[in-house]
Symmetry: C2
Subunit: 573 residues, 2 copies
């Protein structure tokens, strides 16, 4: 099509409200338009990109025997009552009532709808396994949308659900889907996406993986071991420690630590290594504001996801009141009030000679030994893994923490939904079971943004040819020149006749404007027809990613472009 | 794919809650599943049909220079405040608040979003004309969803919006879109869809057309003239009448008509032709319950849409109270209370010697002459056209009223939205104007249902090949027979290798079960591989629509099928 007719404005200035590059580029390049907080409209270039991504996903899902279906966006609350998620999911689930006062929700994920669709179909073991998927709009009422299309409230997602009669069968299929996901990301031009073990959160189930595109602007933190390649979401990464055991024998002694409320102040004052101290982190449960105290080694941070999974409920940072019996800044394991749930991180196990609060304002203990001085029933894994930490796999100090954008995830759900929603099948022996589920998601718009984040320069995106809005961008520099116009028109027509997707810029604007618009559209192959090139009988073919810059003879240009398209496409196979 | 793996149940019995055939077939054939009132999930066969319909629509929209974009499903109420529709549209607009208490709506149509997307872009006349469209989920909180996919609350729709700088340009483009719509319906296998002039309703604007598939189960009534081909939605069709004038001179006389509340009772009693009587139909405005009385010739019915357009507000049937000053059953033009809005249908103009209510319980007038006896400022067109009525075009008694399903509509919107939402452009002389809009919708699921309604038999749908879920259905009758299995397997593989979309039934079930499942899937070409056919070295190729039944030599079967596909496809070009 002609650039002159393309709806949407392109401009140079980075909008001040854009924190990350992909967001700025999408706005500057006429890809998206803000409609409301976390809600955008897409212009044609982005719609073409997302349609290509959708098609790649569809093909890979079909290859693993997925059947494309469609679930509603608006769902009756009764379905979410069945699974229990109407109550358990927070306010990111948009609840409303229809004109008749019926409670409804906007689908943010469709496990319930999937079970409802196949509950009757799947009554015999002979029907298994099967997988259904959809590509559909979803709504998630995020508290803090950010980063353009990275974290939005309304988005298009491919979500898939598989049903199995055994854990082995699920695992086998899960591995196939893992491969299908790798294929999707490779074909979309981001083979660098890695999969990491993750926490399953509200989805239920145990084993799950996130597909991460590593970038400093990502929202997620990922622990990767340089030594063995282990990788996991920070939220899920197991924490292990050097042995804290020493053989020295310390005596428990109360010391005066006036006005020292932080572990740093206390350790400084007592000349103690933070590794030899006990930090108390206090939360309150959302349901009843009951206090939860987590004791952890002073140099470590609490991983709240692990605490949440352990407690099985939501909580928030505590407001410590006088009546709580807790002394903010001086909380310790010895003689702590019974009024709260107390958790001990395993970093404390075997330690001794530690500094900890004395549960009395302005006093700490030194010489604390958990085994001797406190009645600890069990230790848990509540700590956040950190840079330089020990790899839970190879046990070496190889952990590096990187940031990443989650572009997909896969879960082994187990029977959480089929049990609560009463989906059963009869096996060959006539016995009743709940089928085992897996689920598999990819955010389409977020993937587009992630590709842009990973592949751009100061001037705009560098789209892989497989998802680029168009394949070739013709710039007719000085289209008022008769020969330029004729050559460019002919090239445009010839390429379109070959089925090539062409953006044609024949506006009477300067080469500068033309090229900066082309940079913002990020089309992989640029064909420049100009008086200077034509003097040599040539058309200049350049790559958006600067990988080539070729002068093609005018009458060989089509042939050459077709060759370049094939070459670039090969990289995204 | 193999039928054995197709998710969804097929069965013979017509569900008792299905009023119309397409609904029953979609349920019986495993196309849809009820989720909530007017909300369905789609299984794979329907999803394949809707995707093909979407692709046909997309191609035709692209051909008229449409640019595919995407608007959000969830929109901020502020946009609808701008156009005034947040207030003016009834409870079919789903309103809700998000987690922050912001008012939002679910998009049921996207004029506001379209203007918001291009308001900045379209500031210069040089950018015009342009058209943007999307294919997206919409929600309309219908009071009475019905007929399966015919009237639902959630649906996928293609909606397009064009922007122009002159009425002429809009009209030229509107004609192009009209043609594009005819192309869509022809390609989707329903060339019998007709376009009718329609009422623009809440959309604003004047000229509009509905595309109707005529069927007795349709929701809409369409007036078609057998004589001249004129057609219009009943709601929009102008009513004209034989002259009611007679030269006789009647005297206005009050007569006692005890307990006669209906026009039939009164005419019966007075031996008057209902054509010589005045009927009063009473409504109340929704906003303030003010009364509206429409006087119309006794043999005619009121067209509420025309009244609504005249009043510019919503109303409901009246509850006539004592205080109203109205005497139910005896309301007439002479001496009617000032407390209400009074409208006169032009069927009364020039009449005389009429029967009408006397605004006094148990009394009517005879000999009423509107011109002489009542102070009538103007007559309007408030009547419903009826079977045998006069065609407003050729003036002959050629009107036939048919039922139809509306599968698309196009509107000349004018400046309603650009004005209210402050979208302007500068013309070549530097003067400011509001652009003129057109909008163009097609319901994807409804079109699928309408095709099914128009093309089915007792056993299932007869899908046109252009939108059929698969092109060929192989039935391996007696797949336990080694030769049948081998031949069918080979045929399946060969067809798939040719890119043909094949459903393959190799289940060990009876031919009866196989064929009734095939009927329910409605795939246009059926290839039956059976021991009997193989004895003659043949595969039997039959059409779902019974247009052919061919015995093809086994080794010519692929060739023959490809020929049949090409032949059937030709009909949908």
């Amino acid at each position: 099509m002609k650039l002159e007719k393309l709806v949407g404005d392109r401009f140079k200035e980075r909008p001040s409200d854009c924190q990350i590059d992909s967001h700025a580029i999408m706005v500057r390049g006429g890809y998206i338009k803000y409609v409301a907080n976390g809600i955008f409209s897409s212009y044609m270039p982005l719609r073409r990109i997302t349609r290509k991504i959708e098609q790649i996903i569809r093909e890979e899902m079909d290859k693993v025997d997925g059947q494309e279906v469609q679930f509603p966006v608006a769902l009756p609350a009764s379905l979410w009552d069945e699974s229990g998620r109407y109550e358990s999911v927070g306010s990111e689930l948009l609840r409303f009532t229809d004109r008749n006062g019926s409670r409804m929700v906007l689908g943010m994920t469709h496990e319930e709808a999937a079970v409802q669709l196949v509950r009757e179909y799947g009554q015999s073991y002979t029907k298994y396994p099967f997988m259904i998927y959809q590509i559909q709009t979803k709504f998630r009422d995020e508290a803090r949308p950010r980063g353009g299309l990275i974290r939005v409230r309304e988005f298009t997602m491919k979500d898939a659900y598989s049903f199995h009669t055994s854990q082995e069968d699920l695992e086998e299929y899960y591995a196939k889907c893992h491969q299908a996901y790798e294929n999707v990301f490779r074909r979309a031009g981001v083979p660098e996406v890695i999969s990491v073990a993750s926490d399953s959160g509200m989805m239920g189930g145990n084993v799950s993986h996130e597909f991460m595109l590593l970038t400093p602007v990502g929202e997620d933190s990922i622990a990767i071991c340089d030594e063995c390649g282990y990788s996991a979401n920070m939220e899920a990464a197991e924490c292990i420690y050097d042995e804290a055991v020493t053989l020295e024998n310390y005596e428990l002694q109360k010391v005066h630590t006036p006005d020292m409320h932080t572990i740093e102040q206390v350790c400084d004052y007592l000349k103690a290594d933070p590794k030899k101290s006990v930090k108390a982190v206090v939360y309150q449960k959302n349901e009843d504001d009951a206090y939860v105290v987590v004791f952890i080694r002073g140099d470590l941070d609490v991983n709240e996801t692990k605490v949440r999974n352990h407690l099985g409920c939501e909580f928030h940072p505590a407001v410590i009141t006088e009546e709580s019996g807790l002394h903010a800044g001086f909380i310790g394991p010895v003689g702590i009030t019974d009024n709260c749930t107390v958790l001990y991180d395993r970093s404390l196990q075997g330690g001794n000679g530690l500094v900890c609060g004395a549960n009395e304002t302005d006093y700490h203990y030194v010489g604390f030994s958990p085994a001797r001085d406190a009645d600890i029933k069990e230790y848990g894994d509540f700590a956040k893994i950190s840079d330089g930490g020990i790899c839970p796999n190879c046990k070496k100090h190889g952990i590096k923490v990187s940031r990443g954008i989650e572009v997909g995830n896969i879960f082994q759900l187990g029977t959480k939904y089929t049990k609560t929603m009463g989906m059963t099948y009869l096996d060959a022996n006539g016995e009743i079971h709940n089928p085992i589920m897996g689920c598999y998601g990819i955010g389409v718009g977020r993937l587009a943004a992630a590709v842009c984040e990973a592949h751009h320069d100061d001037y705009g995106p560098i789209w892989p040819i497989s998802i680029a809005p168009w394949q070739v961008h013709i710039c007719a520099v000085r289209s008022d020149d008769e020969q330029v116009k004729q050559t460019a028109d002919a090239l445009y027509e010839a390429l379109e006749n070959c089925g090539v997707e062409v953006m044609y810029d024949d506006r009477k604007v300067s080469a500068g404007v033309m090229f900066s618009d082309a940079d913002l559209l990020g089309i992989p192959i640029r064909a420049v027809v100009s008086p200077r090139n034509l003097k040599d009988g040539c058309v200049e073919l350049t790559a958006r990613d600067k990988s080539f810059d070729i002068k093609a003879q005018k009458d060989k240009a089509v042939e050459e472009i077709l060759r370049l398209i094939a070459e670039l496409s090969e990289k995204c196979r």
